[in-house]
């Protein structure tokens, strides 16, 4: 047995582990009641995304993916949490969300169904290319997107909704590092900048809503609708 093969199989196993943990954090964003806890889970998820990019970088020996890992680590696990903490005061983060649209056990069942659906969606795609990294990353990335969308729909607090959107982007990039590793660095940089603006704009808007309406319970803002 030669050296590169062992390294390769170790990298695959490590990447599969990262993928599993990534999926777990996506479940966590659904299950956490406390606002601060969901922010912390998001930080963990971003670190896992960077780790997967790093492992893929080792496999492809590409500096490019190391750069992506670095950018992700700096923007998503340092700058975004910093921005969100700066724009909103402690009171918002100490909140616990008592009433979600659905209770948490039901939510978790739906989320499991969504994950299975993600694997179902990606199975025809995987037949196109036989790459072990794509096999683990693509379905988990799609699951990350679907779970993030679910979080946005069921959570009523503003900050968990923002985190739902950011974790959708994380899901897209988790699939992206495996399938689109050759994307020009300028596009990656612009996308990271873009995610930063999402956090900034939504954080600021949450603050405005907090000042004007007196709550960050955006799920209850329903004055605009058809009669």
């Amino acid at each position: 047995m030669s050296d590169p093969n062992i390294i390769f199989s170790v990298l695959i196993k490590l990447n599969a582990l990262t993928g599993g943990l990534f999926l777990l954090t996506a479940f966590g964003t659904v299950a956490m009641r406390q606002v601060l806890a969901s922010l912390n889970i998001f930080i963990l998820q971003s670190i896992l995304l960077a780790a997967s990019a790093f492992l893929l970088g080792c496999q492809h020996r590409s500096l490019h993916l190391f750069a992506v890992a670095g950018i992700t680590l700096v923007t998503k696990s340092v700058l975004i949490p910093f921005l969100l903490r700066r724009t909103l005061n402690q009171e918002v983060y100490a909140r616990r969300e008592i009433s979600q649209v659905l209770n948490i056990p039901t939510s978790l069942l739906i989320v499991v169904a969504l994950t299975i659906f993600a694997y179902f969606l990606s199975s025809p795609l995987l037949s196109v290319a036989d790459e072990p990294f794509v096999k683990s990353n693509l379905p988990i990335g799609i699951a990350g997107i679907l779970l993030g969308a679910y979080v946005v729909m069921v959570r009523r607090e503003a900050v968990p909704q923002v985190i739902g959107i950011l974790s959708m982007e994380n899901g897209a990039f988790f699939a992206g590092v495996s399938i689109a590793s050759g994307l020009p660095l300028i596009a990656e940089l612009a996308a990271a900048f873009d995610v930063l603006i999402i956090a900034f704009v939504m954080g600021l808007l949450t603050r405005r809503i907090h000042e004007r309406v007196g709550t960050t319970d955006v799920g209850r803002m329903t004055s605009l609708k058809e009669e």
Binding site: I145, V218, S223
Partner: protein
């Protein structure tokens, strides 16, 4: 080089808007900047009408005829809305609150920059970023009034469209993947259309569904349109003209670009997807129009309807229908921005958005009344306005290509929408006022905008200038293989 100048000018005017100088300076700079952009876009469009593709940076920044058409529309509406903002801000923001005015214009210019970037960028990943930026840079324009309703509308707008953007991002990454494993080349619209015959149909289809859901949310396609009437009615009127008139058009442009790429795999039936989603949007919007109680919401629902019409026209597939689709893009953008200028003048005159509260507008403010009547007729598709011509050409092309059922349904929905728009406007303009009201004046800049925006709405309904006709024809060729 024009393309680079266009981007630089709008960025510079955004920066200059923040300078703490005399308050007249900011609107003047914005208007002059958007005028310069309009002139440069016109030059690009004229060259594109002769079949010359403007390339500023190979594979990154370039503008073919379809791009040039959208660029011209964005520049034109950006210019007229800049003039309209002038009077609107004067009346709605206290003169002492200079900071708020400066911020408005800075955001206005940045928003315009992001919309100009969508047709100018040819690298697909950058197009996604530009589309996402159009949302993020316009959120605070939607919430500008800072009322509870405006904040709610802005929140719904940013949450739903950002969710859509994440779906679209995955779709675009899958397209890139497909290209990199089977036919490596530049990741541009043209490169994709060339390579797509070699990309596996499964990948194309999955990518298409993700992008259609993602960008469809932002273009306001049913059933993902729910944020649109809120955001497009709560924003200040000049911003509504941008949102409804051209922002939706730029996103739809990105969806339409997929058509030649997807046609490479006939098993996907991309035309059928377009027609089904288009008809669904037209039909739902037509019936929702009937129950609307707010006249800005009325025009917002009409945007959903028109996005559907363009999608159906693109899906019909014949070259006549493709021409109809590009023509409809032009006539919708021009007419819809005019409608929101008219609605904005009405709002300034009467101070309420409630349809039931406005009666006998023709006596209170004849200018606003005439503009509102003309806008309603123009967008509903009455002759001799431009929407009539473009809708007529689409219906004719539908019959000629043998899609009788789809054409009949489309015609029916258009008629329902016509009634839904014209009945309330008729009552607002000619209805008997419950209490005698004094005359309201319309500011000079509003009148100037209404005249400037109104000229093409009438003119293009009577006569299409040669270069524009050529540009529409050339642009239509990009909607099919």
């Amino acid at each position: 080089m024009e393309l680079i100048y266009i981007l630089v000018i709008s960025a510079v005017s955004a920066g200059l808007s923040l300078l703490p100088v005399r308050r007249k300076f900011v609107p003047v700079i914005t208007t002059l900047g958007s005028l310069a952009i309009l002139i440069l876009s016109l030059r690009t469009a004229l060259r594109a009408a002769r079949g010359v593709e403007e390339v500023a940076l190979m594979n990154w920044i370039s503008c073919d005829s379809l791009g040039a058409l959208v660029l011209l529309l964005v520049a034109f509406v950006g210019f007229t809305a800049a003039i309209f903002s002038w009077g609107y801000m004067e009346k709605n923001v206290a003169p002492t609150n200079e900071r708020k005015i400066r911020r408005y214009y800075a955001r206005y210019n940045l928003f315009l920059l992001s919309m100009l970037a969508v047709p100018i960028f040819s690298h697909v990943a950058l197009v996604w970023i530009a589309v996402e930026l159009t949302t993020l840079l316009s959120v605070f324009l939607v919430s500008f009034e800072n009322t509870t309703e405006a904040l709610e509308a802005a929140w719904k707008y940013v949450v739903l469209t950002c969710m859509g953007a994440a779906f679209a991002l995955l779709g675009i990454l899958i397209l890139y993947w497909g290209m990199s494993i089977s036919a490596p080349g530049p990741f541009t619209w043209a490169g994709l259309a060339m390579a797509s015959t070699q990309i596996s149909p499964v990948l194309l289809k999955t990518a298409f569904v993700f992008i259609l859901v993602g960008f469809g949310t932002k273009a306001g396609l049913v059933p993902l349109h729910t944020w649109l009437p809120d955001a497009h009615s709560q924003a200040p009127s000049p911003v509504c003209a941008l949102l409804s008139g051209i922002e939706t058009t730029t996103v739809l442009y990105a969806i339409l670009r997929l058509l030649p790429i997807l046609q490479a795999a006939p098993s996907i039936h991309v035309e059928a997807w377009f027609m089904v989603f288009g008809l669904l949007s037209v039909g739902t919007a037509a019936f929702l129009l009937i129950q609307v109680k707010d006249y800005k919401r009325l025009f917002a629902f009409s945007t959903v309807e028109h996005m559907g019409i363009i999608l159906v026209a693109a899906g019909l597939g014949s070259s006549a229908a493709q021409y109809g689709a590009t023509f409809q893009m032009v006539s919708h953008a021009l007419s819809k921005s005019f409608c929101f200028f008219a609605a904005g003048s009405t709002l300034l005159a009467v101070g309420t958005r409630d349809i039931a509260a406005v009666r006998g507008l023709i006596r209170t403010s004849p200018v606003a009344a005439v503009a509102l009547m003309m806008g309603g007729l123009a967008i509903a598709g009455a002759p001799p306005f431009t929407v009539f011509l473009s809708e007529f050409s689409i219906l004719k092309a539908g019959l000629a290509s043998g899609h009788y059922l789809i054409t009949a349904l489309l015609a029916l929905f258009i008629v329902i929408a016509f009634c839904g728009i014209m009945f309330p406007i008729n009552r607002m303009v000619f209805g008997k006022p419950t209490e005698p009201a004094g005359r309201a004046t319309v500011s000079t800049t509003s009148i100037v905008t209404l005249v400037l925006a109104g000229i093409p709405v009438i003119l293009l309904g009577l006569y299409l200038p040669g270069p524009l006709l050529e540009l529409l024809r050339l642009a239509a060729t990009f909607l099919g293989r």
